[in-house]
Assembly symmetry: C2
Homo-oligomer: 435 residues x 2
């Protein structure tokens, strides 16, 4: 994209309403704008980040056999009465009345709706297990929205739901999701640790939350250094091997890890190689048995005759929250430092003198090489302002083109994460970026 023709309104000043780094930087880098309390519009660069995260999450969900679908945002209150949650949910639920005075709500989660869909479509043990997910906008009417997209009211979530014949099957689904989570976060460049969690309003008796490490995170976390050695890439664990899933689960749950809420000093004392840090919750998974399937009447024909009640689990990732969490994990005083996998643009091309024939020609050549996927800073601005914006926006690579270098086809290539700069030919710069 050409920056002069893009809606990426960077700000020099720090907005006064923003209390944490990610909120400040998302506003300053022109990723989002608040449109009402706790509700944000995703401007072009922010939307690209959100899509990159969604793509990684989708690929890793599908890689463990979870089917993509999409449920609607507006749900019927009657459905929530079937599970007993309509009255239990409290004022976070946005309740709506339509023109015919029917009671609706803006869904905060989808256990009831998917249980109903499976109840309609799945009749036999032969059709199970089923695991489905969607990436969907949800609404929770937070009493005091704050911290930008980290605690907004309208937010994007990946929520998956599993339906199994029995407890043993549900445990396999649970472990499969756990592996998908670890792979997703690793691909985003994040270090994530699952921690035993309370099951809260969703209910059930097996639950983990996923905490990603970030120096400015919301809670203090304590963990065994063994977590630093785990690797979820490639073929480390096969999602369709029960033995691999068990090994993965064991690797993730044997060592000590806790947030300050659940911290146990006695157990902590026994950890040989201790790590402490700050963390942000970005996911939460639950096994809850027949909590929804039983009262909602989900039954399938059992193999030997008769009916069985499927065992369920649900698995959430805060997709819009992850944008904030990534910035908390990756920033410095000058701005954001995007990991390559989620960056809105792989590189920015900084034309130091638009209007200079040599600069324009070499810049256009660089821009064409990225087939429109890079950001081209073609604005008539001071070099200092352009450098500051490039650092602020956090593109992994900066290709700086000035009149002197343009004469010989030379650019300055800067890696945002390290600050390292080299003077090279455009071709060498492109080769280095391509990896």
């Amino acid at each position: 994209m050409r920056l002069s023709r893009s809606l990426i309104p960077t700000l020099k000043e720090t907005p006064s309403e923003a209390q944490i780094a990610s909120h400040r930087l998302m506003l300053r880098a022109g990723l989002v704008r608040q449109t009402s309390s706790g509700i944000y519009a995703w401007l072009p660069a922010g939307w690209k980040v959100l899509q990159n995260i969604s793509r990684i999450v989708t690929e890793e969900q599908e890689a463990v056999g979870c089917q993509a679908m999409l449920m609607p945002t507006i749900q019927s209150a009657d459905l929530w009465r079937q599970s007993g949650r309509y009255d239990a949910y409290g004022p976070e639920m946005l309740r709506i009345t339509d023109r015919h005075q029917r009671e609706l709500l803006y869904g905060p989660t989808n256990e009831e709706m998917l249980t109903d869909l499976v109840r309609q479509g799945v009749k036999s043990y032969r059709d199970l297990p089923q695991m489905l997910f969607h990436i969907q906008w949800k609404f929770r009417d937070e009493v005091r929205p704050r911290f930008g997209v980290m605690r907004g009211r309208e937010f994007l979530m990946k929520d998956a739901y599993s339906f199994d014949l029995d407890y043993a099957g549900a445990v396999v689904s649970y472990r499969r999701q756990m592996l998908a989570y670890m792979r997703s976060f690793q691909r985003m460049g994040l270090k994530a640790i699952p921690m035993v969690a309370d099951t809260g309003p969703i209910g059930g008796n097996l639950s983990h939350e996923f905490i990603v490490l970030a120096p400015t995170g919301e809670s203090q976390v304590y963990f065994d250094a063994a977590f630093e050695k785990l690797d979820f890439g490639g073929d480390t664990y096969n999602a369709f091997s029960d033995a691999d899933l068990e090994r993965c689960y064991s690797d993730l749950t044997t060592h000590y890890a806790a947030t300050d809420e659940k911290h146990d000093e006695a157990a902590w004392a026994k950890v040989a190689d201790k790590r402490e840090g700050r963390g942000i919750e970005v996911g939460h998974i639950f096994y809850f048995g027949t909590k929804y399937s039983d009262p909602m009447g989900l039954r399938v024909a059992a193999q030997g005759g008769g009916d069985l009640i499927p065992h369920m689990g649900s698995y959430g990732v805060g997709v819009s929250r992850l944008v904030g969490a990534l910035i908390e994990a990756f920033h410095d005083e000058a701005g954001i430092i995007w990991p390559d996998s989620v960056a809105p643009f792989p590189a920015v091309i900084v034309n130091l003198k638009p209007g200079d024939a040599g600069c324009d020609e070499l810049s256009e050549k660089a821009y064409a090489a990225f087939k429109g996927q890079a950001l081209y800073d073609d604005r008539e601005e001071r070099a200092g302002a352009k450098f500051a914006d490039a650092d602020l926006m956090g593109h992994p690579w900066q290709i700086v083109i000035g009149p002197r270098g343009a004469k010989t086809g030379t650019v300055e290539l800067k890696r945002r994460a390290t600050g390292e700069k080299v003077e090279v030919s455009l071709e060498d710069a492109l080769a280095k970026i391509a990896g």
Copy 2:
């Protein structure tokens, strides 16, 4: 996907509530399920179609320089008071009150919100033109929702907005969108015709609606056969050449075309080569000058000093409606006939005898060749039921594998659109599908 592990609940019977072909077939093929009046869940196969359409629309929007973004579904009533539309909109607008008694609404369109964002982020003539779009769920509280996704309450729309320095610039943006629309519909296999339209509640003085031809369409349309010869693929028209845009506009607006509402018998009598048919509205574009920018106070610094009021247009495509329109255009008595570009799966692999070693082996080999993108009918069902479901779901290709053919690696390859069947080796079948 393996059909035995997928939530694609096909129905043998025609649901009584469905009055039109697309509604019947979307339910019968397991693409969607209604969750409340006029609100649908998109099951895995339906969601794939919706994503394929969204991808085509996105690519063609970006190809004419339109930036992708995403605005929230919930808007503040105050914003709509600034344009005067809050009171004017009527009971189709879903009005909501939050826990602090603030008035919100579920957005039916986004002129106000984007005007506000541009007002915050764009200050100078140097930053214009700007053209942005999003593909977003919207809500219109139809008094009597019907025809499935063709007239639902929660629906997916692509809406784009342009901001130009003056009328001449706005006309260029308008023509660019028109070209993007014709390219999008052509890629979906649809024949679309723009027709002069009333500007309605959005206002303005230049407007076209896009009607796609379908034998079971909602309105009668009359058009010059010249439209049948137009081609928008490849380099026919360059979206960044004003001369090409003018030629494209002229090619699309010179010849007679009208729905029965606007039909003019006198003009029709002069058409040499007449065509009549049925059509469905799938898009509507508007130029409306300063209707929103003026009252909402959007001003940018003009080149010679002083301020100017940008000229705007908006451009809608009914993305979820297109799923219905495509089925109205492409079906027969047995079911849907998906065009390749939007089909949920390029092919179905029909294993006639699961459990037979030869059938299983050849079917798995075929399935592996599609890298998980094909549908594998591995269910224990009668052959007749599998053939009926394959025709119903409308996969472009059917690869039928039975015990006799499996011995020699032979499959029956059927093209859904023509009914043509050939017995070939699996390799030849795959080569033929690859094109």
